[in-house]
Amino acid sequence: MAEHAHDIAKHVKVYIVIFAVLMVLTLVTVGVSYLELSIMSAVIVAMFVASIKGSLVACYFMHLIDERKIIYWVLALTVFFFIVLMAIPSLDVHSGEGVVVNR
């Protein structure tokens, strides 16, 4: 938010650190992909790293870490519906009694 110049200067230091961390994590996830992990663990690791990177961007570059309440509310609502949306594939694949025919 509207801070004073020296606050911003402090922010800038944080940005640089985050930048470095993001770079390292990028290399980590690329590196891990060459390890030939099983698909399950590969997905978990990749998504874990991506979530950390994503949260860093959201929290620090987008300043979500000290954002206003109302934005949290909007995002909470969105996240809820996002999860519902993500449930669609599982609803579809695991519960139907139809048989997939791969003719």
Binding site: F81, S95, G96
Partner: protein, 589 residues
């Protein structure tokens, strides 16, 4: 932005590319009314085929058949070729074109733009005491993108492939392999974009620009309805946009997101990669389309609440529970979508979940409707024209809503799914329901927008005609559906059960044409009153909400004094003024 108000804009800037929410609202409303009318005309043609299968359509059939010749047909040629045979009767593909475009136009180009774009834009900022929308230019952009979408849809009729013909639901693989769908998808992407721009604007405006003293629980119910609606549009539309992009890819880039392996069309194996999933579309579509139906109904409920409060001369009963119900309704509407898909072979757990949520979502509707009816108790009802429309909304929405219950129970849906019962159900909520509420809104706010009242006599003619004939159109559909007649059926007499109820179909068609005639007084009234209507003062209905405390028609910036709100929205007949009312806005701040 705000600085623009200081210039003296020219005609174009003032009335065409205007950033004033009132002008944009009127643009939206008029465009939407024209689309409604157009959508209705499509349906009147279809109803002829249904009533008299395989006969020449009177007048229009001959006209179009005359345009079949590519040399003399001119721009009508493509249209005619996609609709009629050389004998002037409707082709099966023509029937499908009309049906798909009727649904699309009514929902996305008629009711939503009228209810949200029109009434929302015009009335909401006034009711919250705001000078304009938070982002006036965005507001203008949203209208023009909407219009572009509408034009794309209209133009598609005149292209060689014709307009879309796979139903408004556009289920693949049919939609991917049938002509005309590409334009539909492009049009939809534009319409969705327009709605997104609009909804951001609505939410910011309602949160930020309320007048001093106008707390959330002093908002008129109409504003609440618009608020929840905007959230539905904001969060439910993007998945359809995604689905639309995927379907567009399937059509133009040859992908097969919705096409499984080994499809055989006309004994040829389709040369696509395969491995797609047609149900993915249905999930994404209904993820939008169920919230969408509440987008159709919530603004209507808002209008009805305003009109009823005003004409009962008494505060609304259960205002708070109505507000909470609306929020709950909006929230729940995101998790009932698969009740449109019970017959796709979903698993039992999943169907139990969606049956339960569907039953739950009916409860807030019951609460809202009950509150509105109890509001009549102890009141003093003025049967003005808007009030007649608002009152008739209640029982007809109740019929539509109640018939949603059998559809929501999968076992009953086995028989009713995709029959005319469904058509009956949702037309009772969208046509005798929403449409009547929108008419109420037009009669109610017309004096504010134009400074003149609409004619009461013509209004009564319009009301009784519409009321009677809407029921005549849609009531028979329940019996048709019960008997087992499928929807989207070009000729039901081929079936034993369809032939048995053909007389009902015919009755319904005559109802539709009479309904058309019943609109004539309205159209006359709407235009003639601009010049000949009785002059109205600033507050002809003696109403409390803010839009009636500003000059008629409201100036740029809406208010001449800074509005300060001192009380709730419906202070009619308060103890200190038994025959009067307390406006929300103090006379002078």
């Amino acid at each position: 932005m705000s600085t623009d108000h200081h210039h003296n804009p020219g005609f174009i800037a003032k009335y065409v590319f205007s950033v004033d929410h009132k002008v944009i609202g009127i643009q939206y409303a008029v465009t939407a009314l024209l689309f409604l009318f157009f959508g209705f005309c499509l349906m009147m043609m279809m109803r002829f085929q249904l009533a008299y299968p395989g006969e020449e359509i009177p007048v229009i059939g001959g006209l179009l058949a005359g345009a079949l010749d590519p040399d003399t047909g001119g721009f009508l040629h493509n249209l005619a070729a996609s609709l009629v045979s050389s004998d002037g009767f409707l082709l099966p593909e023509g029937y499908n074109v009309l049906g798909a475009m009727h649904g699309t136009i009514m929902v996305f180009l008629g009711v939503v733009p009228l209810a949200v774009g029109g009434f929302g834009n015009y009335v909401m900022p006034l009711q919250i005491g705001a000078p304009d929308m938070a982002f006036p230019k965005l507001n203008m952009a949203s209208y023009w993108v909407f219009l572009a979408g509408g034009i794309v849809m209209l133009v598609s009729f005149f292209l060689p492939q014709g307009a879309a013909q796979s139903g408004w639901t556009s289920y693949p693989p049919l939609s991917v392999i049938s002509p005309g769908q590409t334009m539909w998808l492009i049009g939809m992407v534009l319409l969705i974009t327009s709605s997104l721009l609009g909804s951001v604007n609505f939410i910011v405006t309602i949160i930020h620009l309320r007048a001093e003293g106008l707390s959330f629980f002093r908002l008129p119910f109409f504003v609440w309805a618009q608020f929840v609606t905007a959230f539905l549009l904001l969060l439910a539309f993007p998945p359809l946009e995604a689905a639309g992009v995927l379907q567009l890819m399937d059509r133009v880039a040859g992908t097969s997101f919705f096409m499984p392996t080994g499809l055989v069309v006309a004994n040829e194996v389709l040369n696509v990669a395969g491995e797609g999933n047609p149900l993915l579309w249905q999930h994404l579509f209904w993820f939008l389309a169920h919230p969408e139906v509440y987008v159709l109904i919530l603004p209507a409920l808002g209008i009805v609440a305003e009109v009823i409060a005003n004409n009962t001369r008494k505060p609304l009963w259960g205002y708070r529970s109505m507000v909470y119900s609306t929020i709950f309704l909006g929230f729940m509407s995101f998790i009932v979508w698969a009740h449109h898909m019970f017959m796709t072979g979903m698993g039992e757990t999943m169907s139990i979940f969606f049956q339960t949520t569907t039953m739950i979502i009916s409860v807030p509707s019951v609460i809202i409707l009950t509150a509105l009816v109890i509001s009549l108790w102890g009141s003093s009802i003025r049967f003005t024209v808007p009030m007649l429309f608002a009152l008739s909304f209640l029982p007809m929405f109740a019929i539509g809503g109640l018939t949603g219950l059998p559809l929501g129970l999968a076992a009953a849906d086995i028989h009713l799914h995709d029959t005319y019962y469904v058509i009956g159900h949702f037309h009772y909520v969208v046509a005798p329901g929403t449409l009547m509420a929108l008419f109420a809104g037009i009669y109610y706010w017309y004096p504010k927008a134009t400074g003149r009242k609409m004619n009461t006599m013509l209004g009564h003619m319009h009301f009784w005609g519409s009321f009677i004939f809407l029921n005549a159109v849609f009531m028979p559909m329940f019996f048709q559906g019960m008997a087992g007649v499928s929807r989207r059926l070009y000729d039901q007499t081929l079936y034993y059960h369809g032939d048995a109820v053909q007389s009902l179909t015919r009755m319904s068609s005559w109802g539709a044409w009479c309904l058309g005639i019943a609109q004539i007084p309205f159209i006359i009234n709407f235009f003639a009153s601009l010049w000949m209507g009785k002059k109205a003062n600033d507050n002809p209905w003696e109403a409390t909400t803010l839009e009636w405390s500003t000059p008629t028609p409201p100036p740029h910036g809406n208010f001449t004094t800074v509005p300060v709100v001192v009380c709730g929205p419906y202070e009619y007949s308060p103890p200190d003024k038994p025959d009067g009312f307390t406006p929300q806005m103090t006379a002078n701040a």
